[in-house]
């Protein structure tokens, strides 16, 4: 009876949102206690996670954005979970990519490594889910740390020299970034006595407070949090840790890192920038600076990617470049609006799908031939047509060639840039696309060589090939799904959004 009453008393969305938090957590503990079946548990958890996200999405579509006061206290005393269109898209991307990578991992990891992989990956899933559901800057700090530490642990999984060095560098960068972020949180808390994003935003945006809000402490918080999050997102020139980490981790881990982890810190940056920091940064030079960094990242990352001789490093540098596109939102969205938003959301999702597919392909090639030297790939790819196709399709999206999700993102971005007369950005976007074509086709060109296979080839399971291919197909099909995806993005809460449709 009590249960029925309780069910009546709270919305369905609560069930799904709380499931998203508790389910992967329970998965972690079960994997820890029952290592022998951790593979099954991991796969099941990520599948159930997918269902929970669908459930939450369905509820959000029906009822609009959603808040959940943890502990029943509500902000500012307690912590609130918050889900709107943007968080839903991030959660959905995480769930989809995460599930595909889970399927891949069931075949990729040998049991001895898998036992260590699954609980940590579920920790990462917990971190991502809680991060995207959080509306509290201190809580975000905890989720950031949870995410950072699990990402580092996953990077070091193989125990090779490169992986350990990469993980160490990653860990130090990540910790530095977190502390910088935390000091920002401290300053904000002591300025306003709250850590809830919407309350902080209200205080920042209250007409009487607008001038008073721009205190040195708030500016310092902006700088500290911005710098920390940018370091975690690996925007040029703070990208130094990314290629060694993403290049040396096991393939499914690289996929997770490139597709999801860096997006999470970018998501927080996006949230903070366009809610509570908006009165400070609106139309300011700081946005131009971020845009400039984005441009530099696009060009530098692409050129570096072209120069690489190893496939995984090429893909990692491509990530550096693609992050640059995301930062173009700052100069573009500050003036006008929602088109830039849509563009960035689209780029985030399609990059997540395409880049994870690429890393999984690299994993297949590595498994098959025992190396990832690009110039010797001709010995490999003829025999893995599905993987070659997956790589090519993912490449189409990365290059932004139609029909693909990447194209839609690029189109929207170009549209805003042209409307605002930012021809410099237009040029960078186009050049970035051309450079991407260079490095993608540098790889694809070798897939048609008819060279004989000269080495002992290892079998690559169908599961590993298909999960990569399905992700890549998803990235392409995204090109036809812009209306539903963008309508999800428009689920928003009028109380905390500033005019940009966040």
């Amino acid at each position: 009876m009590a249960i029925e009453n309780a069910l009546m008393a709270f919305p369905m969305a609560s069930i799904w949102a709380v499931t998203l938090v508790l389910l992967p957590l329970a998965g972690v503990i079960c994997c820890f206690l029952l290592p022998r079946i951790s593979r099954t548990l991991g796969l099941f958890t990520s599948f159930a996670n997918l269902i929970s996200v669908s459930g939450l999405g369905w509820q959000l579509l029906e009822h609009g954005s959603y808040r959940h006061a943890v502990g029943g206290w509500g902000a500012p005393l307690g912590i609130e979970l918050y889900a709107d269109g943007l968080s839903l898209l991030m959660l959905a991307t995480t769930a989809m990519v995460g599930f595909a990578i889970s399927v891949y991992s069931t075949a990729y990891f040998k049991p001895a490594v898998g036992v260590r992989f699954w609980p940590i990956w579920l920790c990462l899933l917990t971190a991502l889910n809680t991060l995207f559901l959080s509306a509290d800057i201190f809580n975000l700090y905890v989720t950031l740390e949870l995410m950072g530490l699990s990402a580092v642990a996953l990077t070091a999984l193989t125990g090779s020299k490169e992986a350990l060095n990469g993980a160490m560098r990653y860990l130090l960068a990540s910790l530095l970034a977190s502390l910088s972020y935390l000091l920002g949180v401290v300053l904000l808390y002591h300025s306003f006595g709250s850590v809830d994003i919407s309350l902080l935003t209200q205080q920042m945006q209250a007409p009487s407070a607008t001038l008073a809000a721009a205190t040195p402490a708030v500016w310092a918080a902006l700088g500290l949090m911005g710098a920390g999050l940018m370091l975690k997102t690996a925007i040029f020139p703070l990208h130094f840790w990314l290629p060694p980490a993403h290049g040396s981790a096991p393939a499914p881990v690289s996929a997770l890192l490139s597709a999801l982890v860096i997006k999470a810190s970018f998501y927080i940056l996006l949230r903070l920038w366009f809610t509570l920091f908006e009165p400070l940064v609106d139309g300011e030079a700081i946005n131009s600076l971020l845009g400039l960094l984005g441009c530099a990242a696009i060009l530098w990352g692409s050129v570096q990617a072209i120069r690489q001789t190893r496939l995984k490093l090429l893909i990692a540098y491509s990530t550096v470049a693609q992050i640059g596109y995301l930062f173009l939102v700052f100069p573009l969205a500050s003036n006008m609006g929602s088109v830039a938003w849509n563009a960035i959301a689209y780029l985030i999702i399609s990059h997540a799908l395409a880049k994870s597919a690429m890393f999984l392909c690299a994993g297949n090639l590595l498994r098959f031939g025992g190396h990832d030297r690009i110039a010797d790939l001709d010995r490999v790819v003829q025999r893995l047509p599905l993987t070659a196709a997956a790589f090519a399709l993912a490449g189409v999206s990365i290059m932004g060639i139609p029909p693909s999700g990447g194209f839609i993102g690029k189109w929207l971005l170009l549209e805003t840039a042209i409307i605002q007369g930012r021809w410099d950005l237009v040029a960078v976007i186009i050049i970035g696309g051309l450079l991407a074509a260079v490095y993608i086709f540098k790889v694809i060109g070798y897939t048609f060589s008819p060279a004989q296979i000269t080495h002992e080839a290892h079998n690559v399971s169908a599961r590993m090939q298909w999960s990569a291919l399905l992700l890549a197909i998803g990235a392409v099909l995204l090109g036809f799904l812009s209306l539903p995806v963008l309508s999800l993005l428009n689920i928003s809460d009028a109380t905390i959004t500033s005019g940009v449709g966040l």
Binding site: A389, V396, W411, L414, F480, S482, L486
Partner: protein, 499 residues
């Protein structure tokens, strides 16, 4: 949405679906693959026939699918679209037969035929595109689908050719993309409309519009091989013969030329383009390309390369016809889209037959080949005479209307270009014919494959004969109701006369 709406989509799917299935077929399922290919080609042919009949009777075929907020994916069968889609569906059928014979027993056939079908899908999409973004989408898909065909042999040379091809086409695609987005952000409209949709734009937008025009034409000019963007075409000759045939006659080159027609007629509109003052430079560029291509063709000993430069030259007739900005020249330009396709595909088929049967790749090896392979060389002769512009073959009709149109609009310099190019055509084709028919047979051919009492495999022989007959027929039967010329007149009338 009535049932008519689905027809254009089905036309696209009729080659897409077999293509996707073929990818997954193992190499040894030859029969199934052939069946699928021919089935797809036939279905497409029948559907196109249905649309031809329907449009003639006033039905409207259009499907709209949402792509972006306020922007749709549109497939529509107008007269211009039908002209191109008919050409591609017929030539696909013929080329499929040819490719089956040509690639017999060579490796990676599933991959080849898969991309071959994708390539046709893209061409069909280009033809039926009802707005610029749909056009762009299929135009880029065409780039992606043809790349694997060009590098199909997998040699280092093929890889380099593929690289060159991509360097040109992807850059071109990027220019087209900027132009399209810019146009959209300026006007909020990308729909292909007879006489264009820009007539209301004020003077203050003219500089922007001129830039957009240049961007679009440059983007399309890459595929249409307008000088100086033609560099990829001769290199792409490394591809297997059916691919070259398709690339030159229907798919890539034509997609570019077709795009130019669309942009001038249905985006900017002839009158508006003329007001912008962009047509005369375009005409000059086309004229220059015509002469330049012919001159380069003169110096090629490799048969396929000579044909490639001939394509550079011939495709620019289409651009020239469009840029002259008169109704009669427009007929000539548009109809040449079909005529050049039919003639050039014949020539490439024949070149492929020579290479496949006798190992002949160079013109200097062609002595007496007409006596060894009379049917093939007969088809070749028809194609060559057509190119020169000898009546009553198709090429003559195009040149006639072009010249008439130029006089009509007072641009008599075009006559000299036409005469000069015809002369050059004769100079580079007639020696080939002379060699083939009148020079003595060599002691041995570079290779000699035996096909019993036939000169070559029937799957190789039939296609060029059919297309040669087409080339004759469209020249002889120009007055029949469904002839390309009649369609071209209809299209020109829509652009120039109707209110």
């Amino acid at each position: 949405m009535n049932s008519n709406a689905w027809v254009p989509l089905l036309v696209v799917i009729s080659s897409l679906l077999p293509g996707l299935i073929i990818f997954s077929l193992p190499e040894d399922k030859v029969r199934l693959r052939i069946t699928l290919n021919l089935f797809g080609a036939l279905v497409k042919f029948l559907l196109v026939g249905l649309m031809l009949w329907g449009v003639y009777n006033g039905y409207h075929y259009e499907i709209r699918l949402p792509l972006l907020p306020n922007l749709e994916l549109v497939l529509r069968a107008g007269p211009l679209a039908l002209l191109f889609v008919t050409l591609s569906s017929i030539l696909w059928l013929v080329t499929t037969v040819y490719a089956i014979g040509y690639l017999e027993n060579s490796p990676h056939r599933s991959r080849f035929f898969g991309f071959f079908s994708l390539c046709v899908t893209a061409t069909t999409g280009v033809a039926l595109a009802g707005n610029l973004i749909t056009f762009l989408l299929f135009y880029e898909l065409l780039t992606l689908a043809t790349y694997p065909l060009i590098v199909h042999r997998g040699t280092e040379e093929a890889r380099q050719a593929g690289k060159t091809y991509l360097r040109y086409t992807i850059s071109g695609g990027a220019l087209l993309l900027i132009g399209t987005v810019w146009l959209y952000s300026l006007t909020g409209n990308l729909e292909f409309t007879p006489k264009g949709f820009l007539t209301n734009m004020g003077e203050q937008h003219y500089p922007a519009l001129i830039t957009i025009f240049i961007l679009l034409i440059a983007g399309l000019g890459v595929k249409a091989a307008l000088f100086p963007l033609h560099g990829w075409l001769p290199q792409a000759m490394i591809a297997p013969a059916p691919v070259s045939a398709l690339l030159h006659a229907v798919a890539v080159v034509k997609a570019g030329a077709f795009g130019i027609i669309r942009v001038v007629y249905e985006v900017f509109g002839v009158e508006f383009s003329a007001a912008l003052g962009v047509l005369t430079p375009l005409a000059w560029l086309a004229a220059f390309t015509i002469i330049y291509g012919s001159l380069r063709a003169l110096y090629q000993d490799d048969l396929k390369r000579r044909l490639a430069y001939s394509t550079v030259s011939q495709v620019s007739y289409i651009t020239l016809g469009v840029a002259i900005a008169g109704p009669i020249a427009a007929i000539g330009g548009v109809v040449h889209l079909v005529h050049q396709g039919v003639m050039k595909i014949t020539l490439f088929f024949c070149a492929g037959n020579l290479a496949e049967t006798l190992g002949i790749h160079k013109i200097s090896e062609m002595n007496g080949v007409g006596r060894r392979m009379p049917w093939t060389m007969a088809a070749f002769t028809i194609g060559a005479f057509g190119m020169i512009g000898a009546p009553p073959i198709a090429g003559f009709i195009s040149k006639w209307y072009l010249g008439l149109g130029a006089l009509n609009t007072g641009q008599s310099w075009v006559i000299f270009i036409l005469a000069g190019s015809s002369l050059l055509n004769a100079v580079y084709f007639l020696p080939i014919l002379h060699r083939a028919w009148f020079m003595p047979l060599p002691e041995s051919w570079p290779e000699d494959h035996n096909f019993g009492n036939k000169e070559t495999a029937w799957t190789l022989l039939l296609p060029p004969l059919i297309t040669a007959v087409f080339a004759l027929a469209v020249g002889l039967l120009v007055t029949l109701p469904f002839s390309p010329l009649e369609w071209a007149k209809l299209i020109a009338a829509r652009e120039f006369y109707q209110p």
